[in-house]
């Protein structure tokens, strides 16, 4: 495990060096992402000139949701997204075969080979926004709420990771799914607003079979003192379940993979 981690670190280093080759463009990207975050923030502020609350969420609660959402979103963008973006090509050109022959855990290498630091601008700004909301007294800070919040963020990350594994497996299985990244984009579109805005049936779906409620809504609810303990516990159980299911799908896919490229 330790040696695998070492190799991943080396790959990340190579990935960073590669992006540093165009230093101007790299710095500009971080800068632009920072502004993209600010525009996202302005959207919420303007939104609340026409609305008093969204499905019971005040503007402060929505800012909490935005900071949690951007935190998870930028983390997946840094670590996972660059890999799925090139997956279709890898399957079609046979690059995946080369990776599978290496004496390493293929799942880790398919999913974590590349890293993109461009979203660092959004990641750091989301943390700054979060700290600002703490200082403003928006959050309920007790031992229990912080612990539940950490668990809910952990569950959110596991769910996102599991979705990536499933999508990767699907992309390999179907051999032509260059738009797996489109799906990720759509998934996060749902997470930009609290799940309370959706009709009851959809809401049920988001808490069970398509568990995106645990990505941004539940953590934001927990730290804002809007929710109860149950969703956090369910979220944790569902995250573990999704990890197990996605691992099973992955294993089955790799076992039946017959190579598509040349």
């Amino acid at each position: 495990m330790f040696s695998q981690l070492k190799i991943i670190m080396k790959l990340w280093k190579a990935s960073i060096i590669q992006s540093m080759e165009y230093r101007g463009s790299f710095i500009f990207s971080i800068f632009a992402n920072f502004f993209d975050f600010i525009f996202g923030l302005l959207q919420y502020l303007v939104f609340f000139t026409a609305a008093k609350s969204i499905a019971g969420w005040s503007s402060d609660n929505m800012l909490a949701l935005y900071s949690v959402f951007m935190f998870i979103y930028s983390l997946q963008f840094i670590f996972l997204y660059p890999n799925i973006a090139v997956l279709g090509e890898m399957v079609n050109t046979g690059g995946l075969d080369l990776l599978l022959t290496k004496p390493l855990d293929a799942r880790l290498f398919v999913l974590l080979r590349k890293i993109s630091l461009e979203e660092l601008g959004s990641l750091s700004t989301s943390i700054v926004l979060f700290i600002w909301l703490i200082s403003k007294g928006v959050f309920v800070i007790t031992f229990q709420s912080v612990l539940l919040f950490i668990i809910s963020i952990f569950s959110a990350l596991i769910i996102v990771y599991s979705i990536y594994i499933t999508l990767t497996a699907l992309a390999i299985m179907l051999e032509k799914m260059e738009d797996a990244s489109e799906f990720i984009w759509s998934l996060f579109s749902f997470c930009r607003y609290p799940t309370d805005i959706y009709p009851a049936k959809m809401k049920f779906l988001f808490f069970t079979f398509f568990p995106i409620a645990y990505i941004s809504t539940v953590p934001a609810q927990t730290i804002s003192g809007l929710g109860s303990t149950e969703p956090v516990i369910y979220g944790f159980i569902i995250s573990i379940l999704s990890l197990l299911i996605s691992s099973a799908i992955w294993k089955k896919t790799i076992r039946s993979y017959t190579s598509a490229g040349s």
Binding site: S25, A32, N33, Q43, F47, T49, A50, D179, F190
Partner: protein, 267 residues
């Protein structure tokens, strides 16, 4: 000078290519309609602030039309051009007997055109399903041709802005971030994607009406919904023409500078 025959042939070829990947189109449709529907769900669950002129039916009609207008004014030329500079395919375009960028423009146009195959039925079915929720009293058939005209010029404005950004690809390795900044985030905020421009606070609305972004999305829908006075429509078209002229010159200027430093490699 117009090379109509050549352009028609290219258009036909692109349509055929795109129709080969019909499955992808459905996925793309899903992506185009998803965000407006999520935002519509958010607006339908709000507690309205005082002075907000939009009713639930207005939000519903607005966001059902957003995918259609958004797609018709969309310009996908931004990412294609810098690639053609880098891999040298631009050299091939330069020796063809029609304007070199026409290929990219037609490809983007074809893309928008073929999405209509899905978006028009989607919009019609949605309007039919939700018809009891709408307030049709403002709608007037006279506004339809004016809305179409506004969509056409809105598309031209977006094409010229995206084109100007794309042309910086002569110098920049990657224009994605510049596009995200000048075309993506501001457009989403001030174009009427997240918040309909008519519901902005007075001062922000005035700024939005002077910038080009509103004309790529919100303006045609506002005309169609019958919520604009004749004077406001004239004013809107005037502002739009101003930006079209500005960005025509900008794009031309960048092209002339860029083509001088372009040294062909690859192909």
């Amino acid at each position: 000078m117009l090379h109509l025959k050549a352009h028609a042939a290219i258009l036909k070829a692109y349509l055929k290519i795109m129709l080969t990947y019909r499955g992808m189109m459905i996925l793309h449709l899903f992506r185009v309609v998803l965000m407006p529907l999520v935002i519509a769900a958010a607006w339908l669950s709000i507690e309205k602030a005082d002075g907000n002129p939009y009713e639930n039916s207005d939000y519903l009609l607005y966001y059902l039309l957003v995918p259609l207008v958004m797609n018709l004014t969309n310009s996908r030329s931004v990412f294609r051009f810098p690639v053609s500079v880098r891999d040298g395919t631009l050299s091939r375009e330069l020796i063809k007997p029609y304007p070199p960028l026409m290929n990219i423009v037609i490809e983007s146009f074809t893309n928008n055109l073929q999405m209509l195959l899905y978006l028009v039925p989607f919009t019609l079915i949605s309007v039919f399903l939700f018809q009891s929720h709408f307030d049709f009293s403002f709608l007037s058939y006279k506004m339809v041709p004016i809305s179409i005209l506004a969509i056409f010029f809105g598309a031209l404005t977006r094409l010229l802005i995206s084109g100007s950004i794309a042309l910086t690809g002569f110098w920049l390795e990657d224009v994605t971030t510049l596009n995200l900044l000048l075309n993506g985030s501001i457009w989403a905020l001030l174009g009427g994607m997240i918040i309909p421009v008519a519901t902005f606070p007075e001062k922000i609305r005035q700024i939005a009406e002077l910038l080009p972004y509103r004309y790529m999305l919100s303006f045609p829908i506002e005309i169609f919904s019958g919520r604009l006075t004749t004077l406001a429509i004239y004013k809107g078209f005037a502002v739009m023409f101003f930006w079209i002229i500005i960005f025509s010159f900008t794009a031309r200027f960048i092209w002339k500078r860029g083509i001088k430093i372009y040294s062909a490699y690859g192909g």
